[in-house]
């Protein structure tokens, strides 16, 4: 029986570029910005990296396909470098590749890095891409917010929540993230916003308004992974280790059968179950110190609280209103501002979530530092609620 990943791999160093509208630089600079920070944090030389995984989702708006753009940008010579892509969960895929490489014993030190340059498209939001020659013939092209907005219809229908109550609750989700983002100097959006502004914003995809949607950003994030033994031999103390890595991908059941009611994300539930098992978590609400979830849209974050088991089904909208996930709440969520305010450079996002947990666990989160966190869960979604990908990474202090 598989023994799982728990505590087999430690984070040696991490880096994250400033996210936002980085008119000043290209993907190559973003990659170097994140990598330079991580290398310094790890205290190693570039040549000590033995393998690398590069996450980039939208090759056309970025640096093209393959891993070559990464090996060129970071001048990684003669080592295996792979490019991974799994929609908005791409960053987590890069982490999985590097973590598993270390855990397998194939390499001692591996790099996971992701970057996206979304502000070179010329417009806001994500570009529309072909879904393949067959799907293009029948599947409607909806925007990303339209995919997730449907959760609101499903959630309201299942739990009998009024349009007004749900709109206020999802607005409260974004309000909280703006409060947090205001304390993050690397965030794309660093401004607190009033509830009234959020609720009155123009509609993007009913019922989601502008403030229910995350920022689409430029940025890069990376992690250098090794074994706990090597980390200690390099002088690291208070190690942050990987507790679980889970991934769930739709097989079509949600969008092609009546077995999904539209009020939750099946992939999140599948991945959470696997991750909790691997990490030995039996009571997520009590054991998890903090959450970084895929708040691409406010409604996504709301249902994710139920999918992760930190709210009861049908209760998340009330928990949100009661401040349960605020910075001073029972389980702080999106303490770095989340996708909503830190931003969402797709290939980087899954790694950026882990970066925040790493800062918090090592006591380096500055004005947004939480008190003695031990375990953080990152939740990274790709695709749409009824046909997508969910990656969950749990990291924590070694020994927890």
């Amino acid at each position: 029986m598989a023994s799982g990943i728990k505590d087999k791999v430690a984070i040696l160093g991490m880096g994250c570029s400033r996210f936002g509208e980085r008119w000043d630089c290209g993907t190559e600079q973003l990659l170097n910005e994140a990598f330079g920070e991580a290398l310094k944090d790890a205290g190693i030389e570039r040549k000590q990296i033995e393998a690398a995984w590069f996450g980039s989702a939208l090759d056309k708006a970025n640096v093209g396909n393959s891993a070559i753009p990464l090996s060129t940008a970071l001048r990684l010579e003669g080592i295996p470098v792979s490019r991974v892509e799994n929609m908005c969960a791409t960053g987590t895929e890069a982490l999985r590749g590097a973590v598993y490489a270390v855990a397998s014993g194939a390499v001692d030190i591996a790099l996971a890095i992701g970057a996206e340059k979304l502000k070179d498209t010329g417009y806001g939001g994500l570009p529309v891409n072909s879904k393949g020659t067959f799907n293009d013939l029948w599947m409607p092209y909806g925007s990303a917010p339209a995919g997730f907005a449907q959760l609101a219809a499903g959630y309201r229908a299942k739990y009998g929540v009024s349009k007004e109550d749900l709109k206020t609750a999802i607005g409260r989700v974004s309000w909280k993230s703006h409060q947090n983002g205001a304390k993050n100097p690397k965030a794309h959006l660093q401004k607190a916003v009033e509830m009234e502004t959020i609720l009155k914003a123009p509609i993007i995809a009913e019922p989601l308004g502008v403030f229910d949607c995350c920022g689409v950003s430029d940025g890069a994030a990376c992690a250098i992974l090794t074994t706990p033994a090597i980390a200690r031999s390099l002088g690291k103390k208070d190690l942050v280790t990987v507790k679980a890595l889970a991934l769930s991908v739709s097989s079509g059941r949600e969008q092609s059968t009546s077995q999904w009611d539209g009020s939750y994300v099946m992939n999140t539930r599948n991945a959470a179950k696997a991750a909790y098992k691997e990490a030995g978590i039996s009571d997520p609400q009590a054991q998890l110190s903090m959450l970084e979830v895929h708040d691409c849209f406010s409604i996504t974050e709301l249902v994710t609280m139920e999918d992760l088991g930190v709210s009861k089904d049908g209760e998340a909208w009330k928990d949100v209103m009661n401040g349960k996930f605020d910075a001073d709440g029972r389980i702080p969520c999106q303490i770095d501002g989340g996708l909503k305010c830190f931003g969402h450079p797709i290939g980087a996002s899954g790694l950026r979530m882990v970066y925040e947990h790493y800062l918090q666990l090592t006591g380096r989160a500055g004005p947004r530092q939480l008190g003695n966190p031990t375990l953080g869960l990152s939740h990274n979604l790709g695709g749409v609620p009824y046909n997508g990908v969910c990656g969950i990474s749990i990291v924590g202090l070694q020994g927890v």
Partner: protein
């Protein structure tokens, strides 16, 4: 004994959007205040995703409802506005109607009388196997023209055959072919060029049509009084009444000309008038329909029996299913006469792999999904392995077009480019178990909600402006887009 041949079924389709003529007149009042005199009633207007192919499919479905489409021997599609000049539009329509691949498919056109010409030809050639005649037009007119107020769009369909199922017996037909040019449109031109209405009415219709009808009635040994339903297409307003007067037909025998609520549907018009007659005729009634254009075609039927109740929408039902439209600029934008700035999101390339289209033709045109023979799950798309039980190569074709369905999830997307924002989309749940993400169209003022009953309609999905190819697929629309409104007729 001679076998009875004639019409066995009929169907109709009028696009749901009805543009108020007052809105057109108001938009042009600064330049053409005289249009106010035409500003009565409403005209049917195609959505950006509707054209001759989609309307023909809808009328054909209505006609074939409750019958076995695979038994149709051939389809003739009559239109002056079919989207493709070289590509058999009728075969395209027939595939969406799931006709047999051995059925014939022929496009005819060249004149707005082509619909009636095709029907006459089909009636004369009626054989043991039924054939289908569909006429459809999406008529464009220059902004500010009288034609813009008068034209409409729609499709009529009839099946023609022999034997006990005939509901209206074909009696005979008459043709006059003369170079009377009331209007024309050169190949490739956008709009018709028309001559003075008074000349058309007095020198054209008044002289040509009564003579042709009289000749036909005389040959049939019928007096004008026997004609219970008379319809004329192709003429200015009230020309039908003038012809009826010349033929000494009582005014109430003239079928409504559809000008007040649909507009002139060109090639489709004689078939729609025929459908209107079939909806009201009693056994024994004589129906005479004439189409004026470069002379005229006239056809006569004798009603045999009421059509069986297949739940068809018909013309009356099509007229009643309306969404009132007052935004005139929508017409211009849909027709491509107004080039709005849709932004960079509209720049996406929509190249279609014709190889893939042919491989999946029954799924895309016919909306045929699969049913797993192992677990019975109905599914779309039909892939090699069952979405529910994981068994491979167990999929049997399962048509979804007429299956009851409801909204499972939805949203109105204002971000994604659509020529008609917002783009309504969501998961559509069929009662048979199938579910898929679909675009939702013809959403009325009442909107949609989880559970809203839906019906399927064949539409354009995307336009490939670079190559001139349109993708077609099925979209869902509320069965009743306007629950609170009373039907109009």
């Amino acid at each position: 004994m001679q076998t009875t041949s004639g019409l066995k079924s009929f169907g109709a389709f009028i696009p749901r959007r009805r543009l108020q003529r007052a809105a057109i007149a108001a938009a042009h009042a600064w330049a053409f205040p005289g249009l106010k005199g035409q500003a009565k009633g409403e005209r049917a207007m195609c959505g950006w995703d509707e054209d001759v192919i989609t309307m023909a499919v809808e009328a054909g479905r209505d006609c074939l409802r409750g019958s076995d489409a695979s038994r149709i021997a051939g389809l003739t599609l009559a239109s002056t506005t079919a989207p493709y000049a070289d590509m058999n539009n009728a075969v395209f329509v027939g595939t969406a109607l799931r006709l047999s691949s051995s059925a014939g498919g022929a496009d005819v056109g060249g004149s707005t009388r082509a619909g009636l010409s095709a029907l006459i030809a089909a009636c004369r050639a009626a054989g043991e196997q039924d054939s289908l005649v569909i006429a459809a037009d999406k008529r464009s007119a220059r902004p500010g023209s009288v034609q813009e107020m008068q034209t409409g769009c729609g499709a009529g369909a009839v099946s023609v055959g022999q034997g006990a199922g005939v509901i209206a017996r074909f009696l005979d037909a008459e043709t006059v072919s003369v170079p009377f040019i009331d209007h024309f449109r050169k190949a490739g031109a956008d709009f018709d060029y028309g001559w003075e209405e008074r000349w058309i009415r007095d020198e054209g219709i008044a002289r040509i049509v009564p003579q042709a009808v009289s000749r036909l009635l005389k040959r049939l040994n019928l007096s004008g009084e026997r004609v219970a339903h008379f319809g004329l297409s192709g003429g200015p307003a009230k020309s039908d009444a003038a012809v009826a007067k010349a033929l000494k037909l009582a005014p109430e025998r003239v079928l409504p000309d559809l000008s007040v609520n649909v507009g002139d549907t060109g090639t489709a018009h004689p078939l729609l008038l025929l459908v209107s007659a079939l909806e009201r005729a009693q056994p024994g009634d004589i129906i005479v329909i004439a189409a004026f254009a470069q002379g005229c075609e006239v056809i006569a039927f004798e009603m045999q029996q009421a059509a069986s109740d297949t739940g068809r929408r018909g013309l009356a039902g099509s007229i009643a299913q309306r969404i009132e439209e007052t935004a005139y600029l929508k017409l211009l934008s849909y027709e491509g006469q107004l080039d709005l700035d849709w932004g960079m999101r509209a720049e996406t390339d929509h190249k279609t792999a014709l190889t893939q289209l042919y491989r999946s033709a029954d799924q895309i045109f016919g909306f045929v999904g699969g049913q797993c023979s192992a677990c019975q799950q109905v599914q779309f798309p039909r892939l090699p392995t069952c979405v529910n039980c994981g068994e491979s190569d167990t999929q049997k074709p399962y048509p979804l077009v007429d299956e009851p369905a409801r909204v499972a999830t939805y949203t109105a997307d204002w971000l994604q480019y659509s020529p008609s924002p917002p783009l309504y989309m969501g998961l559509v749940q069929f009662d048979c178990g199938a579910r898929l993400l679909m675009e939702m169209v013809d959403v009325g003022a009442a909107g949609i909600e989880v559970g809203t009953p839906l019906t399927m309609s064949f539409r354009k999905k995307e336009r490939d402006k670079l190559r001139g190819w349109d993708r077609y697929f099925w979209k869902a629309s509320p069965i009743n887009p306007n629950p609170s409104a009373s039907p109009s007729n």
